[in-house]
């Protein structure tokens, strides 16, 4: 997997209890990473990639995410042509250039964010979704710029923005350019607030670092899927720093709800209807004004 570095810093919490991987033929069957049940793929898809046995919400790609959310008709892709470049000539064990090409090939996307305008139950919205399979959903210049372009469409059309985040944080290979995307995306959200255009941030497994510490925590309403890992610092970094075991359920959605960081946890099946209900209330003032 291209994001092995992320695996390393992210889900150590609760991992020990994960089931042992068995030999399953790739393709038609998938093993639930939480309860270990073998699931028939067509059935899993019908169930929105949620384990029918234990209700575990599996990670889904950006396009599938948007498919599950927007109405089928009337969608428009936003800023699809933006492409990453390797301004710094960054090279670790691999060249950043090669990592980009590999990620593009694996995902079919130019970078880690997909943006579309469309409707949910006939209610117009702009949606952006992170592609975690693209370098761990990391935020570099393209993600930042595309997020801003999507938000600008929200501002122009006075329609809400919904963001589904799944990201390890800022993209190291773009160094300070990545860090500045935190400021850039937060600035456009400040404009949205000034104009009274709603922004709902939906945090899905996992959201960390520079994405968590910018756009993802700035929703007028912050929503999470059940049991998602969400935090600023990764569990391993914290464990190494404080030298103590992390509490059970640390950095899970339920933990964040308990500590007041998010407004609600919403099951994938209910996501569309619940957000529609919230957005129609927050947007009433916009239709009255026009």
């Amino acid at each position: 997997m291209s994001n092995s570095w992320l695996e390393k810093i992210l889900p150590s919490v609760g991992r020990s209890s994960a089931p042992k991987k068995a030999n399953v033929p790739e393709g038609l069957w998938k093993q639930c990473p939480k309860c270990g049940a073998f699931l028939y793929r067509p059935e899993l898809e019908k169930n929105l990639e949620v384990c029918p046995k234990c209700d575990h919400h599996m990670r889904v790609g950006a396009r599938r995410r948007i498919d599950l959310f927007l109405d089928a008709e009337g969608r428009e892709e936003i800023a699809a042509d933006l492409k990453p470049i390797d301004k710094l000539g960054f090279k670790d064990s691999k060249k950043y250039k090669d990592r980009i090409v590999a990620a593009q090939k694996a995902t079919g996307e130019n970078d880690a964010l997909v943006a579309q305008s469309g409707t949910i139950n006939d209610f117009p919205v702009v949606v952006v979704a992170f592609e975690f399979a693209f370098l761990g959903g990391s935020m570099g210049s393209v993600v930042g710029e595309k997020f801003v372009r999507a938000a600008n469409i929200s501002l122009e059309r006075k329609i809400p923005l919904v963001c589904f985040s799944a990201s390890g944080g800022a993209r190291m290979q773009e160094a300070l350019f990545s860090l500045m995307q935190m400021a850039k995306t937060s600035a456009v959200l400040s404009r949205m607030r000034q104009q009274g255009i709603p922004f709902i941030s939906v945090l899905t497994d996992p959201v960390y670092g520079g994405v968590s510490a910018s756009l993802a925590m700035l929703g007028d309403v912050n929503v999470a899927e059940p049991n998602a890992l969400i935090g600023f610092a990764g569990p391993r970094v914290i464990e190494q720093t404080v030298r103590q075991k992390l509490p059970e359920g640390f950095q899970r959605s339920e933990f964040l709800l308990e500590h007041g960081a998010i407004d609600m946890i919403v099951h994938r099946e209910e996501m569309k209807d619940r957000l529609h209900s919230i957005l129609s209330k927050l947007s009433r003032h916009l239709s009255l004004a026009s």
């Binding site: 390393k8 064990s93 935190m182 400021a183 510490a213 910018s214 925590m217 700035l218």
Partner: protein, 317 residues
């Protein structure tokens, strides 16, 4: 090894200790060693010049973390008058990793906010080595909003390894605290000048670093992750920190070339700790000059310029 010198400065340290020895000899003998001492001093100077004219990013990172590096409180003492420290976030406590308060700069009132690492061991512990918890960022936010109300320009000084990665920090919303500052600073209705004085460690630095004019001290660094952190993830070992520092280009001169930083403040030969007064003078001049320029702008122009500056960040096709 002389602890006052970094490892790549040890040749300088050896020369300096020779000079000290000769001076002692001069003290209790008739031999005239002035010429020899002057010669060694000259060599020490030219050696320092040659070493510091071509520092690698990793070496700059070490100077930026030098134990005698000037910190926010050192600059406050030398640059401002009538400093009144303001404490607390009004909710959890007073995070000493961030100091703030009002003072005069060249006779004009300003709001100061900066990371503070602490000099002595005891102070370092009390200040958590300059790694703020959420309440530190929320104190900073409170002070920025106070500054906006009273039309005080905000001057921030960045010097942190990063926001603290602790259990309580997560419980109290480290991410949200940082994010909120980014949001508010992007549209705060008063000029903001940020200066990286030492280590600009990631989101924990940026959380007081959204500004109209970004300056970096000559031997400071600013990066998305520490060189050690980057190395341990991408190279699988923190030992590759120097390679990571090189790859990220975290030093002031590189970031200036990339147009991510607006201005570099020169430091004395050998780094700011060699002459605190001179370093502070040079920073003070930069602050006054830019503050005059920014203060002349009407607020709507200031905010639009700041917004466009933020929107311009990115390298893409």
């Amino acid at each position: 090894m002389n602890p006052n010198y970094l490892d790549f400065e040890q040749p300088i340290a050896e020369l300096e200790s020779k000079i000290d020895e000769l001076r002692l000899v001069v003290g209790d003998s008739e031999i005239n060693l002035t010429e020899e001492i002057d010669r060694l001093k000259g060599r020490s100077l030219s050696l320092t010049e040659s070493i510091f004219s071509d520092l690698s990013p990793w070496q700059v990172a070490q100077v930026a973390r030098h134990p005698q590096r000037p910190y926010t409180l050192d600059y406050i003492k030398r640059i401002f008058t009538d400093f009144e420290e303001l404490h607390g976030d009004r909710a959890i406590g007073d995070d000493k990793a961030i100091v703030g308060g009002i003072a005069n700069l060249d006779g004009k009132p300003v709001m100061i906010i900066g990371h503070e690492k602490g000099r002595t061991v005891k102070e370092k512990v009390a200040r958590n080595f300059g790694m703020p918890n959420p309440e530190g960022y929320r104190k900073a936010l409170r002070l920025m909003e106070t500054a906006e109300r009273f039309k005080l320009p905000v001057l921030t000084f960045i010097d942190t390894p990063g926001a603290y990665p602790g259990i309580e920090a997560e419980e109290r919303g480290q991410s949200e605290a940082i994010a909120k500052n980014l949001l508010v600073m992007s549209s705060l209705k008063t000029p903001i000048i940020s200066t990286v004085i030492g280590e600009g460690g990631s989101g924990g630095a940026l959380a007081i670093g959204v500004c109209d004019h970004l300056m970096m001290m000559q031997f400071s660094t600013y990066s998305v992750i520490s060189p050690e952190g980057c190395a341990s993830i991408l190279w699988k070992s923190a030992e590759y920190a120097s390679k990571a520092a090189e790859a990220m280009g975290l030093n002031a001169s590189r970031l200036y070339e990339l147009e991510l930083v607006d201005q570099i403040i020169p430091e004395p030969l050998g780094g700011g700790h060699r002459d605190l007064d001179q370093t502070a003078d040079s920073l003070k001049a930069g602050l006054i000059e830019n503050l005059d320029k920014l203060s002349a702008k009407p607020v709507d122009v200031l905010l639009e310029d700041r917004y466009q500056r933020l929107m311009s960040f990115g390298a893409l096709a």
